[in-house]
């Protein structure tokens, strides 16, 4: 079955491949905190995260893979009230490294 995420995933991956990143392996700076049924705000991130970091699992949960994250903070702001996201900046020097900005 093709989901909405499958359709956009290749496009966003191609886009992000032009960017420079230094990924802090094994230390994701964003985590989803499971609070049961995902809130509408958390579900919205699957489409509106500009780096396509969020996806839904077969069980209807939302997960995050922040390797391509641009550290904009949209998810942090949107889920501030639901407490479903633990958001930190990457360690110094890690994460996205804009060539132009």
């Amino acid at each position: 079955m093709t989901t909405a995420t499958d359709v956009v995933a290749p496009r966003i991956a191609e886009r992000l491949s032009q960017n420079r990143y230094l990924v802090d392996e094994g230390r994701p700076h964003i985590r989803v905190i499971d609070k049961g049924k995902p809130s509408p705000a958390l579900l919205a991130l699957v489409t509106i995260c500009p780096a396509g970091c969020y996806s839904t699992t077969d069980e209807g949960k939302v997960e995050v893979a922040p390797d391509g994250c641009q550290e904009c903070g949209t998810c942090r702001v949107l889920c501030a009230d639901t407490g479903e996201i633990d958001w930190n900046y990457p360690r110094g020097g890690y994460g996205v490294l804009f060539k132009f900005g």
């Binding site: 956009v8 032009q18 550290e71 949209t74 900005g101």
Partner: protein
């Protein structure tokens, strides 16, 4: 031993650099902490530099700063699906000896600005993320912690120039959380083209540049705008809308950007270009009423962290540099008179901003964010109605002009109604006042 400075500045964007530079020039011991690999590596902007506000800090900046093009033409476009209409203002007067606006590439510009900060005598430490503020039992900020080993540093005053997310102040409880309706999510691509091609497409010569600001159906009914700026050998193209609107609308920002790039008025301008970067960033757009407390015992907030953006006029980096400079000048004045960095004494910072264009302009448009948020017809109905009216007016088809006028006026009444039209006009006038 824990090091102590006169002042610590968090962040090396325009506000942090303006503050650190001014403080160091004033003879203070300054530590500036930046989490990126180099200053600029975490920063995103369109980007337009307003010369006046930088000139007040570094008068000779034109001789050395990496500038792309000086702007000689401003286009304001309203778009529907097929067309654009609007105003172009191009003037040879803008080819003055000291131009007022330039396009810049932030990763390069911020690195240059940071070099000036170092030359002025500040200690700049990169690749270091600030993890929290140190406060005494009375709440006074006396330093901060970082993710470096033994990363505790002390200072008389901490200036937070840490950007739109303002994480440090929020976690320390110095400010409320950033609201989704107070920030816009903008995505942007850098399209590279040979300099001559850009010159040809926009009718430019010798570093002349054009900027286009756009509104209309490109934001799919959300409150937002698009932009296209000419750099030396690239074109910045982007679109941004309120985060709260993205949530309700459910459109992917990059889908929105792709659609905008395919618009018949925009596609030819960026045709055959090579995209070398895709960036996303939040822009504070809550206006005057979203500005948090910007000073307290031992701390100040400058730039995006303080929501200092005039969304209507697309001004941000100038407010960042001005707030950074004014905060630093306040510190220098207190020092020279032997006063402590208390909330009471630092309130001079706020007073100075209230007396300047910074707060006056933001106050002028304080109703605009909510007006646009609550009235999406300005982004959908009106662009379409105006485009249809123009189409009717310019098409020569044997229909008499009086009939055309009736059709045009009728279409506005049909769509918005008399009360709607009057109320919309009233809202715009009120928000603009």
């Amino acid at each position: 031993m824990i090091e102590k400075f006169d002042a610590i500045v968090v962040g090396a964007g325009p506000s942090g650099n303006a503050a650190a530079y001014t403080l160091a020039k004033g003879g203070l011991s300054v530590l500036q902490i930046e989490r990126g690999e180099y200053p600029g590596s975490k920063n995103v902007q369109g980007a337009i530099l307003y010369a006046d506000m930088l000139e007040r800090i570094i008068p000779e900046f034109r001789d050395e700063a990496p500038l792309e093009r000086h702007i000689i033409e401003q286009r304001l476009w309203m778009l529907d699906e097929h067309s654009h209409m609007g105003t172009h203002f191009r003037s040879d007067v803008f080819n003055e000896a000291k131009p007022n606006r330039y396009t810049i590439v932030r990763a390069q510009f911020d690195r240059w600005f940071s070099r000036k900060v170092k030359e002025a005598g500040a200690t700049v430490v990169c690749e270091t993320t600030v993890t929290g503020l140190l406060r005494d039992p009375a709440g006074r900020v006396y330093g901060l912690t970082t993710d470096r080993e033994g990363g505790e540093v002390h200072a008389d005053v901490v200036i937070l120039a840490d950007g739109v997310n303002s994480l440090i102040a929020e976690r320390a409880g110095l400010r409320p959380k950033v609201r989704p309706e107070h920030v816009a999510l903008a995505v942007k691509e850098m399209h590279f083209l040979p300099r001559e091609v850009i010159d040809q497409r926009f009718g430019l010569k010798e570093n002349e540049g054009v900027v286009i600001e756009m509104a209309g159906t490109i934001t799919a009914g959300m409150a937002g705008t698009g932009f296209l700026y000419t750099n030396g050998e690239s074109i910045s193209v982007g679109v941004g809308c309120l985060v709260s609107d993205f949530k309700e609308n459910g459109t992917s920002p990059y889908v929105l950007l792709d659609r905008m790039k395919r618009h018949p008025s925009i596609a030819p301008l960026i045709a055959d270009s090579e995209v070398k970067e895709y960036a996303a960033h939040l822009i504070p757009e809550g206006g005057y009423d979203a500005i948090p407390a910007i000073h307290g015992d031992g701390w100040m907030i400058v730039g995006d962290s303080g929501q200092f953006v005039n969304a209507m006029h697309r001004e941000g980096s100038n407010l960042a540099m001005t707030t950074g400079r004014v905060a630093a000048e306040t510190v220098l004045e207190l020092r020279s008179t032997g006063k402590h960095m208390t909330a009471h004494n630092l309130s001079v910072y706020r007073k100075k901003l209230e007396a300047s264009f910074v707060m006056k302009d933001l106050k002028k448009y304080r109703r605009l964010p909510s007006t646009l948020h609550d009235n999406k017809q300005f982004f959908t109905d009106y662009p379409r109605l105006l485009a249809r009216a123009a189409e009717t007016w310019f098409r020569v088809d044997g229909v008499e002009k009086k009939q055309k006028e009736r059709e045009m006026v009728g279409s506005f009444f049909k769509s918005r109604g008399l009360r709607g039209l009057i109320s919309d006009a009233f809202k715009v006038a009120r928000a603009w006042r």
